[in-house]
Structures are given as C-alpha cells and as structure tokens.
C-alpha cells in the first residue's frame, strides 16, 4: 500500500550567516487511515516537520534536500496558489494552543464557515447548517448559541473542539495535529483524544499526531516516529516500539516517563552520555552532507 504522506530525506536549513540545519534527512510515511505519532523532546524538530508539510515554515528557512509527496503528488515546492487549494481541503491542521488560534474579534460562526464557503462553495445558510452539524459531531451542546459567541466566551476545551470541527469540516485526507492537548488540563485532554479517535474512525482520515507525551501515543497511535536533534531515530509500529524499543534514546525516553502503576520507581533522566553521543552523530552527519 502506498503512503498518503511520504517524506523522504528532508533537510531544512535556517538561512543565516552560519547556516543551521534544523532537519537532518527526515523520512516518515503516513499510510491512509493511519494515526502516526511523532514524538520527541522540545527542539527535536517535530513542529518544523509539520510546518514544512503545511508550507508555513518560517520565512528564513529553506528545504535543501529531499521531497514531500502527498497523495502521489510532490508538494515540496508548491506555489502559494496551489498550496491554498490543498490546505483546509485535503490537509488540515489542529493547532497547539486553542486560546490563541481563534480570531478574538470574530464570532465562531464566521471562523468555521470561512473554510466551508471557500472549499465547498456553500452559501451562507448552507454553511451555517453545516457548521451546526459539525459542532454536534464534536459533541458541543447548543451549537446555534456557540456560533453566535466570541472565542473568549468559550473554555479551552470548547475552543479546541471548534478547531477540531474546522479541521475535519472538509473531510481532509490528512490532519496534522500539533500537540492539540498540551494546553489543556488532563481531564479535558482525555476527552479531546477520544474525540479525535472517534472522528478518525468515522472519516478514515490519516492523522500525523505531534506530541511529547508518550502516554498519549500509546493510547492513540498505530505507528510511532521518534525524533531527536532534527533527525528520526526510530520508526516502528506502536505495539512493537513500546514492547521492544529499538534505539537507546527511545528506551531512555520510555524509562523517563513517570508511571502511576509503579509508584516506587525513581525518575530516570535521559543520560548525558546518550545526548552527547547523539550530538556527535549529528555533527558527523552534517560533516557528511554539508
């Protein structure tokens, strides 16, 4: 089965006097209907991968190597026009912080219907009806009332539901979720994860789920990609990864996760020897490629 999203040997560089390599030959595949977890600590390059795929990487960065193929089509270097056609309709995005991702001076209605009217060519009433249905699907009560409200009148969890409804509204083939639960408290996190899984099952959409929470990955994902220092260290089916991690870093990462079922355990940080080794390897890679 060919992958829906196929990233091969992707290099991203920060263009400065001293060019900085942000991604080092990153490869990852997302199959149709699959949820792929992209994990790693802060600065591992998880978010950069998502931004390059979406075409919203910072302006002073540049893809210097590799390709991104989506649905059989190379999307590494698209014109703005072509990308606009793709975003929202075929690739959708769930942002990290629901508190800032909605326009504060616009009612919820226009924020949802914008994407509907743009990609599905619905008229005002059609888009409104559809928005009500969408809000019902993400289990928001009184959708008509929510449509008339402003973002600050909703809680974080409700806002994230609105954003999820927007992301799934055009039945995209791929949804990229960048730590969608990080800014929420734990009980709401669980509900949001359930919601994402439910929507994924109903629509068959593929999801690239970016997180640093291994617990979330274990619950949600079919396949896991572990990143560190801008490169992929391990890529394996979730069951296999948790049962027998293939890379020392993955093992250290799993050991560093606090477990409620083993309260006596000491917390084990990632060993400094390991991070040093990873940094050396990265330097060796840079010497080879640049």
């Amino acid at each position: 089965m060919s992958a829906l999203l196929d990233i091969r040997d992707l290099d991203l560089q920060l263009q400065a006097r001293q060019p900085l390599r942000l991604l080092r030959r990153v490869s990852l595949q997302v199959a149709p209907g699959q949820i792929v977890g992209l994990v790693g600590e802060s600065g591992a390059g998880k978010t950069m991968v998502s931004r390059v795929v979406l075409g919203i990487a910072p302006a002073n960065t540049c893809v210097t190597h590799g390709s991104i193929v989506f649905d059989g089509r190379d999307i590494t270097h698209l014109t703005e026009q072509q990308r606009r056609h793709l975003l929202g309709r075929e690739i959708a995005f769930i942002p990290q912080n629901p508190m800032t991702a909605l326009n504060p001076v616009e009612r919820i209605e226009s924020q949802i219907t914008d994407v509907l009217r743009m990609h599905l060519n619905l008229d005002r009433t059609g888009a409104r009806d559809k928005a009500v249905t969408l809000l019902r699907e993400v289990h928001l009560r009184q959708p008509e009332r929510i449509l008339r409200q402003y973002p600050h009148e909703l809680s974080g969890g409700m806002r994230q539901r609105v954003l999820i409804a927007t992301a799934f509204s055009c039945k995209p083939k791929l949804v990229i979720a960048d730590e969608p639960t990080t800014a929420l408290d734990v009980t709401v996190q669980k509900q949001i994860l359930q919601l994402i899984r439910e929507l994924q099952r109903n629509s068959g959409t593929s999801i690239l789920f970016i997180t640093h929470d291994l617990g979330v990955v274990a619950k949600l994902c079919d396949h896991v990609v572990v990143m560190h220092g801008g490169r992929v260290l391990e890529s394996a089916p979730a069951l296999k990864l948790f049962a027998s991690p293939g890379h020392d870093y993955t093992r250290a990462l799993l050991a560093a996760t606090p477990r409620f079922d083993r309260p006596g355990d000491e917390l084990r940080p990632i060993p400094a020897v390991l991070t040093q080794r990873l940094a050396d390897e990265a330097r060796a890679l840079d010497a080879r490629d640049m």
Partner: protein, 279 residues
Amino acid sequence: MKAIASLRNPRVLFGVLVVLALVVAAAAAPWLSPNDPLEQDLMNSFQSPGAGGGGQAHPLGTDSLGRDILSRLIYGARPALIVAFVAAVFAGLLGTALGLAAGYFGGRLDAAVSRLVDIWMSFPSVLLCIVLAAVLGAGLHTVVIAIIVIDWTRFCRVVRAETMLQKSHDYVASAVTIGLGPGRILASEILPNVAPLLLTLFTLEMGIAIVVEAILSFVGLSVSSGMPTWGGIIQEGRLYVNQAWWLMAAPMACIIVAVLGLNALGDGLREVIDPVKAR
C-alpha cells in the same frame, strides 16, 4: 442596544455630546446663530460678553468690526468639522492600506514603505503646508490635502506595527492553514483586530486636524478672510488681546473642547468595542 449601553462609559458620553454639539452647530448654523456672522456694526465694536447694546444681544461680545462672536464661532464649526472629517478619512485610508501591506508582507515592501515614512516625517510639515498652499492656492481643499499628505504617516506607522503583531498570532497561521489568501486574511482576519486602534487614531486625527486647520487659518492659508474660522478669529483677536481678551479666549475654548471631546471619544470607544475588554 449596545450603542446605548456604551454611553454609560463617561468618556464616550462626553465625546458623543461634543461631537453632537459640533455637528448640530455646523448643520444648523443659520438658525442657531443669533446674528449674521458677517454683519458689521462699527458703533458696537469690542462689546464685552454679556453686555447688551445697540438693540442686539451679543452673548459673547463683538470683535473690532462689531461682528457677533457667538455667531462667528457657530459658523466656524463648519470648516473645522469638514476639514477634520474629510482629512482624517483619507489620511486613514492611505496610511492603513500602506501600513497593512507593509506589516503583512514585510521584506522589501516594508523596507520601502518604512523608509518613505521616515523621510516623510523628517520633512518640516509647516513648510510642506506653505508649499502646498503656494501651489494649490489658499482654501479649504488646500488645508484638507495638506493634512492628508502630512498625517498619513501617523496611521501607517501604527497600523504597520499592529499588523506585524497580529500576524504573529496563531489565528493568522490558522487562517493560512485553511487555505485563505493574503487579501482575505488582511481584510477579514487582521483588519477587524486593528479596527479598535484605527478608531482611536481616527478620532485623535480629527482632533489634530482641527488644530492644524486653526493654525493654517491663523496664518491665512485657509478659507478667505471674510468667512469665520476658529483660527481666523484667534488671529484677528490677537491684535486686540489687551482690550478684548474674549476675542481669543472664546475660539480657543472651542478648539480645546472639540479636541478633548474627540480624544475622549476615541479612548472610550476603544474600551467599549473591544470584545475581550468588554467582558
């Protein structure tokens, strides 16, 4: 309903009353003013405020030619209001368009616009006015054009900075990821967020325009000398300030109250309109 509720804000109330007074004075000047503002009565010149004489009441006294000050002030609201409104609208349109584009697209466009604003602002504005007046001839249109030409930079700078700030917010990135183009994002995402600021700037600019109009008519670059303007009345009163202080004091008070009212309105509306602050 919301409009009425916003009047509970004391600044908005004060501003609305001032603007209302200005508009009424300008629109109904012929009916409101007790005398013809141009009618001279040399027998009754320099009458002090409140003193009735010559069979006619002059609540604010008369000037060197015996013209009624109150009537002249009421008629003077016309050029003040017209200039303030028209100049602020066009300066706002020009500055906002350039500021939005510069702030959103950045890069060379931003550099070009910003340098232009820098150079523009370093040019002495009074000189610019006089050059314009020399080219276009004195008159109300000259005053309006002069204010637009000078003050668009004020809008441009502030709108540019605010646009850059808004652009860095996640909701703009979200708009990009649902496939909206830059035109749509500027018009329907960023502009509404800049609007409260624009409103404040606009009323502030109206206040500034009233002052500039007064200055230009003070130096004789506005409407012809017969027509009453606040700056013109101050200029005429300047010669007789030792005998008749009210000739300068009355129009000055008008200008001060008008500018205060407009500034208060801008500040108050900003508080009231912002949906986040209005919680």
